[in-house]
Amino acid sequence: MSDLWNDGDPIADAAAPDGPIETRWQRRKFGAKLVNPANRRKLTVIVVGTGLAGGSAAATLAEAGYHVKSYCYQDSPRRAHSIAAQGGINAAKNYRNDGDSIYRLFYDTVKGGDFRARESNVYRLAEVSVNIIDQCVAQGVPFAREYGGLLDNRSFGGTQVSRTFYARGQTGQQLLLGAYQAMERQIGLGNIEMNARHEMLELIVVDGKARGIVVRDLVTGEITTELADAVVLASGGYGNVFFLSTNAKGCNVTASWRAHRKGALFANPCYTQIHPTCIPESGTHQSKLTLMSESLRNDGRVWVPSRAGDHRAPGDIGEDERDYYLERIYPSFGNLVPRDIASRAAKNVCDEGRGVGPGGLGVYLDFADAIGRLGRPAVEAKYGNLFEMYQRITGEDPYLVPMRIYPAVHYTMGGLWVDYDLQSTISGLFVVGEANFSDHGANRLGASALMQGLADGYFVLPTTISNYLAAGPFEKVRDDHPAVVDARSSVRKRLERFLEIDGDRTVDSFHRELGHIMWECCGMERSEEGLIKAIGLIRGLRDEFWQRVKVPGAGEQLNQNLEKAGRVADFFELAELMCIDALHRAESAGGHFRAESQTPDGEALRHDDRFGYVAAWEYADPDGKPTLHKEQLDFEYVHPSTRSYK
């Protein structure tokens, strides 16, 4: 209990099977009720979002015979932000005979997540990972291959086996196009009704069940209600609450947040992943940050000058004046330490005044040794497109001058709470991919987001949703049902209010300021003092937003600022909850360093006895107190230990 939140009942049942972990998913699948193929076409499923999770779910549900209605805010389902994932996708194929197994992938993921994920889910993720690769190859995904024609693998951030499948630096693009093409086939067959340039603005709940959504046609501004037997949210993460992140500009929390307001619990909102290898900010015009795949750390060496305030060009700084700090502090993992460790180490050296580039917020990632050892053509073959991208953005040639990198918000492990069946606390509302609180715990390992999105969409959801739909078709909801009318009118009123305020500040100016508060106080390092200050600042800024924001134009037209205003309004509420969640979790877990919780040598200190749970929050109106429900995490197989990469 505190001034900022209430303690509620614990979550008693996450619907995970017990017994031997190796057979839990098999037993759950066998226990799931099935829907007669002839009845499937009478059941409608709404899928919001068309990234890896939403695209694969929509295609698979349509192949199974359900009537699917799909929505995305972009102009085509092929553009969802999964497309930007670079590095790869993990699978426990053990094609390298290097000791990998489903159990090892499970073990690595639970440990990598700093013991804050649900074991049953993680095991299932590792189990279906092998099917994902088979599925994608069958679709024609052009993975990298060896000369014998078999698939190539590489090791990736923080693992000691080579289990990552990849397609140059564009793995997300190729996997997404696979799912997109499967979707387009179903659209052509009339099994998916695709609604591009449509944004979900409200969830419709009737008699405790999710039965539809309210959407805005982003071209005409028309508001419509879309009804169904079940709703699947695959709307991605909320990294854009920080304004600057590696997310696409349109990524937002609105679909999830609307569901949260209607009763879905939001789990671990403060768990955000800060990726160590992004291109640093170049000025106040900056609108987003660009990730450089961390596969670069396989060959690049990270360093800063040994001396603070050393502003010489990198070539003028001798070997003995450089600090290869990851190799120095973490000799056994070196430059390949997990993302959270690498990010915080970069922040630490910059805080010491040893950062490089404009503003001192950057560290070098140097390929000189790799070019010397392997030759430029080999480096080019491996990383050519990443080097080009870097040069295009910065105007510097990384073959000649070391890259400058700095951590940036990249992924959100938090999201809507779901049980083992991926169902939220609202019946019939399923959440997949980054939008759910996911299987990554407090820290996501590289190449596991693509794995989770496709596991959820291709293999998990289609089974578990059938168990729910087997109880249907549910009673038809009429368009004039009070819950439907209310949802529609609340959306209209909110849009009108944005347009009426007619203040003197742009949506972006508020968003930028909110993001700055979040980065400073709820980013890589958090403290009680900073978080309390942030909550006050967020509340003040939110009130100012509702009085001073200026949204030009009208509602009945393409109006990109009206779209942004709605998203930023929801980010304000989310930001406050993130700070409350971060405040209550007085431990350092994953990449979230809590200043008050550290070992004598400054490393992160977890408190498993006090915080070994998922924090699932129940909505409260702004300025109200959200209620905390805890799902206790049991570790039967992978026993919590201190992560050490030294």
């Binding site: 994608c136 069958a138 190729q174 015009h285």
Partner: protein, 247 residues
């Protein structure tokens, strides 16, 4: 740096549209072209004007959502670069820059610089896939794929569907887009069973959508941000002839 942009303003599909000039002052050379437009829009909003509508999303050159004619060239003066990855350091202080939407019969203007590229999706629906329903896949190593073929398929599959090829083509043809997908799937062993139906279906769909024919002008490959080569159109034509012969 200070520049002037002359931007195509069109309030909707029925509006005739016109070029309107705006001064944009104090732009950093490190800003991207879209960030320059962001700065312009912030000013327009505060001045009570309608901001310029333009499509964009990932801003890292991979989603294919952005795209505009910059001084008459799709995606602007830099080769192999999307609009979002074009930076102001490639322009000079005092430059006057014309900014227009993609112009093609199959891509109607929605508003300002925003066009409707739904016709691309309809081409994919007509065969731009391999039929492989979830769950039916054999082990990934069941079929070896020569590295040369896998690499060539990947190169073709890097198309981001931005539409620059169509916008640059004097005929408004989508042949490079279609050819890239036909090559990607046709180079993989998994794509062989549908190879003939694919090429016939996709070419019919592009005709139906109102795209023009190919006369080998080569403008498409010149502006393609992913460097999809013109030779793939030759490959497409060859696949088409084979499919017709067998029909």
């Amino acid at each position: 740096m200070d520049i002037q942009v002359r931007v195509w303003r069109q309030s909707g599909p029925s509006d005739k549209g016109r070029m309107v000039g705006y001064d944009v002052k104090d732009i950093s050379p490190d800003a991207s072209f879209l960030e320059m437009l962001d700065v312009l829009n912030e000013k327009l909003i505060l001045d009570g004007d309608d901001p310029v509508a333009f499509d964009h999303d990932c801003r890292e050159g991979i989603c294919g959502m952005c795209g505009m004619m910059i001084n008459g060239v799709a995606h602007g003066p830099e080769r192999a670069t999307t609009t979002c990855q074009l930076h102001m350091r490639h322009f000079k202080d005092g430059d006057v820059i014309d900014v227009e939407p993609w112009r093609a019969a199959a891509f109607p203007v929605v508003k300002d610089l925003v066009v409707d590229r739904g016709a691309f999706d309809s081409i994919i629906q007509a065969g731009g896939y391999i039929t492989a329903p979830t769950g039916a896949a054999p082990d990934a190593h069941a079929t070896a794929v020569p590295k040369k073929d896998a690499d060539a398929a990947f190169e073709a599959a890097t198309c981001i569907g931005c539409g620059a090829c169509v916008a640059a083509c004097p005929n408004g043809s989508s042949m490079l887009f279609t050819a890239a997908k036909v090559a990607h799937l046709g180079l993989m062993p998994q794509g062989q069973p549908e190879r003939d139906t694919r090429v016939l279906g996709m070419l019919q769909a592009q005709d139906d959508a109102g795209f023009g024919g190919c006369t080998n002008a080569g403008e498409c490959t010149t502006v393609c941000p992913k460097g999809i080569p013109l030779t793939l159109i030759g490959r497409l034509n060859s696949d088409y002839r084979n499919a017709v012969r067998k029909r």
